[in-house]
Assembly symmetry: C2
Homo-oligomer: 246 residues x 2
Amino acid sequence: MAATPAWPPRSTPRLFVDAALAEGPRRIDGPPAHYLLSVMRLKVGDAVKLFDDRSGEWLAVVEATGKRDLHVQLTTLLRPREPVPDMWLCAAPLKKGRVDWVAEKACELGVARLVPVLTRRAVVDKPNTDRLRAHMIEAAEQCDRTALPVLADPVKLATLLRDWPADRALFFADEAGGEPAAAAMRARPGPAAILIGPEGGFADAEREAIRALPRAVGVSLGPRILRADTAAAAAVAIWMSVAGDW
Amino acid sequence: MAATPAWPPRSTPRLFVDAALAEGPRRIDGPPAHYLLSVMRLKVGDAVKLFDDRSGEWLAVVEATGKRDLHVQLTTLLRPREPVPDMWLCAAPLKKGRVDWVAEKACELGVARLVPVLTRRAVVDKPNTDRLRAHMIEAAEQCDRTALPVLADPVKLATLLRDWPADRALFFADEAGGEPAAAAMRARPGPAAILIGPEGGFADAEREAIRALPRAVGVSLGPRILRADTAAAAAVAIWMSVAGDW
């Protein structure tokens, strides 16, 4: 607590702005302005933290407030954009609540890229990427992150495998069993990805296609059956702890 | 798929019964009967799987159906109760949705015991243990588990620490930094527990009291701030993968 500076206060609102930020004046409108004016009730002279997923996190001071917009002055770059481990999470879309949760956890745990993968048994064939991105942004705002995972366009599994980069290990949760996840990941440092199937699991032909990929490594997440969202969070946490930056 | 027996079918409903099961006849009433009769529409001759968190999982056949109850015959013990790694998750109660999720994940990931811990900054002081237990039961039913985590009575942090068993390591997520989680857990096999604070974190005095425990080990979950529910799932997954049964 003693280390916390008196200014800006701990309660300072923190917002993602989807535009390159720089020192100087800036106008904020739209939903962010509504949030700052009507929810946080910011007044002239109040502080706000803005981050852009590009330069980093900025301290700004409110200079003028309108009905639907406000003008702030960006004064200080508080932190440059944080480095993010080179981990992709490739996951089949799940039901609404669970896929939102996966997007939130992917951001918190620090994946660099979230790739919605369309598989045969997927319950959802058109994931709502706007909603997923909104959940990642909220997670970043809540968790003091200065970087957002890239949200890739949804891709069919066959296309993902066809275009797979030769330098990136692909760890996939194989219900048929595989190497223990921690050992498999520790043994393969460098660019990596985790592939999680839909609730119904991969179809046999899909699993064969994944196994045929030279960089694919089937991993086991233990003797208990995990829901797809649980498997995704568990596998990312394990990778971060043995091969990432934890 | 080839390995799946034709009977009982994959769609066979699976239910937890809070009573010791044995071969022979059994009457089912209450909400489980409503679920089997009105939701799953079981008829005489249909199969149902029952598990009791004691003997294991049983195959039963419906022998008679009433308006509000049904009679089944338990014919075969399909699996004995599974062994569970000796891991306790001690977690401060969180807001409704997030603590329910922690209970679900604790069950899926395989913790032996979930202990709601009351801390100074907890947003909830009376966790709804009935609801937490219901979420763990549903997770076990969904994930083919034959064992349920024990749900301990909520306990104050000071009491938990005072009565701490000398043979059990206590890994706590220390925002002030600690040993990397995977290495710390791998180096300390045997009975273990993970302690996760509330969203607001532990108070300084609480952190000092935890650190004073001889078996306490502060661990780091990486450079990014994690929500309490994310930290709980991540820490359990890492322990399972390096010191548990994954």
